[in-house]
């Protein structure tokens, strides 16, 4: 199993029945593949649909039905079209149960940075600032390191996405919960030791008792 699939499978376990969930583009969008249908979860695409479905069969794409990354999608039975004011009204108003976002850095305070690298890359925040400020639960899904450097750092050096503490960080090496006291290591990745995780992490991790390995049912 590659790193991204480990992450997507583990994040999928955070999804509870009946939730409204927003998945960011890229890695977070893979989470949908591992959420069982019988949970009756609704996925929101912030560009305007609640009840996002999978990719349509070849030739049945509709130019007016895409996800936030511009990819063609379908709508599930019971879907609703919404405009951007309603879409972000749901997000900012606390109606979104969970958002899963990628990250460039997360720090010991649980702050996320994911929208720009000054002088290098300025994609813009898109909906990320509203999502992190407004969703009930914010899960950061990202690979543990970038070019060998830890993405989990003592303090973000990149501009923050929000002043709010995120709820959970899921990488292929660890599940980490930011708390008032700091970053608590909750789970280890498959075949990874606590020492391995700390060695790959620039931030200080709090280890309480035995740290179980992720369970990733097929």
């Amino acid at each position: 199993m590659d790193a991204k699939e480990i992450i997507a499978r583990r994040v999928a376990q955070e999804v509870q029945p009946g939730m409204l969930v927003n998945l960011g583009i890229g890695l977070p969008s893979m989470v949908a593949n591992f959420v069982p249908d019988d949970l009756h979860v609704f996925f929101q695409a912030e560009n305007g649909v609640i009840g996002l479905g999978s990719r349509p069969p070849e030739g049945m794409e509709d130019r007016d039905l895409t996800d936030a990354g511009g990819g063609f999608v379908t709508a599930v039975p019971g879907a609703a079209s919404i405009d951007s004011a309603m879409s972000f009204g749901l997000i900012r108003g606390g109606h979104l149960d969970m958002t899963v976002l990628g990250g460039l850095q997360v720090d010991e305070k649980g702050h996320l940075a994911n929208w720009m690298v000054p002088g290098k890359m300025v994609p813009g925040m898109g909906g990320a600032m509203d999502l992190v400020a407004g969703a009930k639960r914010v899960v950061v899904a990202m690979v543990h390191t970038a070019k060998g450097n830890s993405k989990i750092v003592p303090e973000c050096t990149l501009p923050l996405t929000a002043a709010r503490r995120v709820s959970l960080i899921v990488t292929e090496m660890a599940v980490i919960e930011p708390t008032q006291a700091g970053l608590v290591l909750r789970e280890r990745g498959p075949g990874v030791s606590v020492e391995d995780v700390q060695a790959a992490t620039a931030a200080r991790l709090i280890v309480q008792g035995d740290v179980p390995e992720m369970t990733l049912p097929a």
């Binding site: 509709d62 079209s81 405009d83 972000f88 890359m121 925040m125 898109g126 600032m129």
Partner: protein
């Protein structure tokens, strides 16, 4: 009754330096024929408000390619390297606005509110230069309303009163932008006779729309 005009007629109304609100999200729900007509006319100095700047050669990205946009007020430019290059070269100004704040600022401009009080952006770079209000112990940024000279909209269907319906993820900013410009031009895929659209299906009342683009041939 609204006259249905040709794309070139619409483009000719738009003067140099105009402030344009254009519907769309990565080109979905964008009035493509209007954009082509503006590019063909080539009058620039424009300010563009859109969710993003799309991709080079697509949607509002064509306006960027043609060098017609002096300033873009958008939430995302990550998929348009031309915008990034022009921004870094100082050929174009880019104001990045959180997406939910952007749509509420346009709504505030359209419905006569003095601004938006949002928690989004508090404690980030977005806060810089803005008034922060403490309301009952929580912090909110005061974000200013946005209004345009023109709103250019994509719609699924219209009638000749100007009532508009939108489709699926092609709604996005269109219904809100319809409220917030001096002149509103809609590019519907279909135009129906008056009276056949149910009042309950109308998302933008025709009183907000000034011109309809004639149907594509």
């Amino acid at each position: 009754m609204k006259r249905a005009i040709r794309p070139e007629e619409a483009a000719e109304m738009i003067p140099e330096g105009a402030f344009l609100l254009i519907g769309g999200f990565m080109g979905v729900g964008t009035p493509h024929r209007l954009i082509d007509a503006i590019v063909a006319r080539g009058v620039g100095g424009l300010t563009l408000v859109n969710n993003d700047t799309c991709r080079p050669g697509q949607g509002v990205g064509k306006l960027i390619d043609a060098g017609l946009v002096d300033k873009a007020i958008v939430s995302h430019i990550g998929l348009n390297p031309v915008t990034q290059k022009k921004m870094i070269a100082g050929e174009m100004q880019v104001e990045l606005v959180p997406q939910g704040t952007l749509v509420e600022r346009i709504r505030a401009g359209g419905v006569g509110l003095g601004g938006v009080l949002t928690p989004t952006g508090v404690g980030t770079l977005v806060e810089e230069g803005k008034q922060v209000l403490d309301i009952d112990g929580r912090k909110f940024l005061l974000e200013k309303p946005i209004r345009g000279d023109f709103a250019l909209l994509d719609a699924r269907q219209a009638d000749y009163v100007g009532n508009l319906e939108y489709s699926l993820t092609a709604h996005n900013f269109n219904p809100i932008m319809a409220l917030a410009a001096d002149t509103v031009i809609a590019e519907p895929h279909h135009i129906m006779p008056v009276g056949v659209i149910s009042p309950d299906a109308v998302k933008t009342p025709g009183v907000l729309v000034d011109y309809l683009l004639e149907r594509a041939h």
